[in-house]
């Protein structure tokens, strides 16, 4: 039907696509100094110096200095005992987090699309959001025991709320104009899900997964501190009872590093899977 229409050449359109950002003309070293990384490094250096001073002059027995902590980190990194504790802890983390994603994403999608489901479940989600999770640990121990299962369940409960809540709001925030557009072209419910709702909610799904990951790490440590002194939590309690501040801090530092690496990986994945959302955030 369009064969007879003369093709319009792009030159005829006066509008140009969105222009790329202006090039920064300052010298490379100035730009490097002005980057976020530079400020982060500066902030960290100030923090380390303050810590060092405090630890040296006022810290006493239980607050190690920055350098002591760094040395202890070096110790732990070559200590097989640490790595086996790390592996045991992460077992619960990996299983619990995967369960949270596998259960939480579909649940969030349903809640976002169907208001009835949402009304049924809202109370419970809010309870999960505000309840101090530590309170349900004794309950878990009583019903499931001290094993891997109850650690996995706790990590799941910690993480799943963030996943569900974010996925739900992601589905709800899909532009209604897009849903109307899809309907006008005769999209079926399945096509609407696959082509509009899920891609539209993907940025929020990824955010939920990233925040859920943070909560999963928290859950992993808390359950070991409060319920069963195994693995990393056990190590922390152990160092505390020996007044070994440096190693205690070092363990926590390593957990922090793990959390940062995982969240960084989630962020990277987000930018790969939903690049348009990252662009929107930059522009808006």
């Amino acid at each position: 039907m369009t064969a007879t229409v003369p093709a319009r050449t792009p030159e005829r359109t006066s509008e140009s696509p969105v222009p790329p950002r202006r090039r920064d003309r300052r010298p490379a070293w100035v730009r490097a100094l002005d980057s976020t990384t530079a400020y982060q490094l500066l902030g960290f250096a100030l923090f380390a110096v303050a810590w060092q001073l405090y630890g040296t002059y006022w810290g006493g027995l239980l607050v190690p200095t920055f350098t002591e902590t760094v040395l202890a980190v070096g110790d732990l990194v070559v200590d097989p005992e640490f790595w086996s504790a790390f592996a045991v802890s992460n077992q619960a983390l990996v299983l619990g987090f995967l369960a949270a994603v596998v259960l939480g994403v579909p649940l969030g999608l349903l809640l976002g699309r169907f208001p009835v489901a949402e009304r049924l479940s809202n109370v419970y989600l809010n309870i999960l959001l505000v309840t101090p999770m530590a309170a349900i640990i004794p309950l878990l121990v009583m019903s499931v025991g001290f094993g891997l299962a109850s650690r996995v369940i706790l990590v799941t409960i910690f993480a799943i709320v963030m996943v569900v809540v974010n996925v739900r709001s992601g589905v709800r925030q899909v532009d209604p104009a897009l849903l109307q557009m899809a309907r006008s072209f005769g999209a079926s419910e399945r096509q609407t899900w696959m082509r509009v709702l899920i891609p539209g909610a993907l940025p929020s799904i990824m955010t939920g997964i990233r925040l859920g990951l943070g909560r999963a790490v928290t859950g992993m440590v808390i359950v070991e501190l409060l319920m069963v002194s195994v693995a990393l939590g056990g190590l922390i309690l152990n160092y505390r009872s020996r007044f070994d501040g440096a190693h205690l801090y070092a363990t926590i530092v390593l957990i922090l590093i793990e959390a940062l690496v995982l969240i960084g990986a989630a962020r990277w994945l987000e930018s790969r899977l939903a690049p348009w959302a990252v662009n929107q955030r930059k522009n808006g």
Binding site: M1, T2, A3, T4, V5, P6, A7, R8, T9, P10, R12, T13, S14, E15, S16, P17, V18, D175, A177, L178, Q180, M181, A182, R183, S184, F185, G186, A187, S188, Q191, R195, V196, P199, G200, L202, A274, W276, N279, Q280, N283
Partner: protein
């Protein structure tokens, strides 16, 4: 032919009062006609268009297309949206092919057809871009190509050029005319611009607000094709007469509803 008979729709306003969005609207859109609908904001013109599209229900009356009652969206109609409604994650090509995809057309075939349409609307070379990388005018070209791709008998356009700048709007009008002159489908085109309504339409339907009603239908006897000399057209005396008349009517409406609403949305 689109036949609208006794179409009415009321909804409850925010203060609880009943608002008559459309009151007893009768309208016949002829085959292959370019019909523009003009009116102040709140006159129900977009509501009416979305009813023809089968997207929103009405209280009373009927809409029939070639004798068949409208009951939801159908393959013979395609819509171009005011705010483009493009999928931000999909490429230009996939956006244009969206309607075909919903109809189960295979990937190779729908991409081939989409590519033709992308060329028709002047976006050749932008197939792999995403909407966020395009200007507003280019985005609406994608919206137009998407609607044309499903080869509709009826093209429903909801203030399609309302969200772009004046210069771009001008180019888009010319191009829409050129495309339509080669492929005369029935067009229902909503606008709040008098100039646009006269420039494009065979007839201009003037609607008034509160309640939403058709107040007059004005014939536009300007010669076609119009795409080649839009500037000359605008200097013609017929054009000035029609726009002057429309302006008179709009001003009357504005005086009646002066305190509650303006002309442009």
């Amino acid at each position: 032919m689109i036949e609208i008979r006794g179409l009415s729709k009321a909804y409850r306003g925010q203060d609880g009062s009943q608002v008559q969005a459309l009151a007893d609207v009768d309208l016949t859109v002829r085959d292959n006609e370019f019909l523009t609908v003009l009116g102040p904001s709140g006159c129900g013109k977009t509501t009416m268009l979305k009813m023809i599209a089968g997207l929103i229900p009405w209280d009373e009356g009927s809409i029939a297309i070639d004798g068949v009652e409208v009951d939801g969206p159908g393959p013979e109609r395609a819509m171009v949206f005011q705010n483009f409604a493009l999928l931000p994650w999909a490429t230009v090509l996939d956006n244009v092919a969206f309607g075909l995809e919903m109809r189960g057309v295979g990937k190779a075939e729908r991409h081939e057809r989409a590519r033709e349409l992308v060329t028709t609307v002047g976006l050749a070379g932008f197939e792999t871009k995403r909407p966020g990388e395009l200007s507003g005018g280019m985005q609406q070209r994608v919206g137009l190509a998407r609607a044309l791709a499903v080869q509709p008998k009826v093209l429903l356009m909801d203030e399609p050029f309302g969200a772009v700048d004046e210069q771009t709007r001008r180019l888009l009008q010319e191009e829409l005319l050129a495309i339509w002159e080669h492929n005369r489908v029935t067009v229902v085109f909503i606008t709040h611009s008098m100039e646009e309504a006269v420039l494009l339409g065979d007839r201009v339907v003037l609607m008034s607000a509160r309640p939403g009603q058709i107040s007059e239908i004005v014939d536009v006897p300007l010669e076609r094709p119009r795409s080649s000399d839009v500037g000359g057209l605008e200097r013609s005396s017929e054009y000035s007469e029609i726009t002057a008349h429309l302006w008179e009517r709009l001003r009357e409406m504005h005086a009646e509803h002066g305190r509650v609403g303006g002309i442009a949305s």
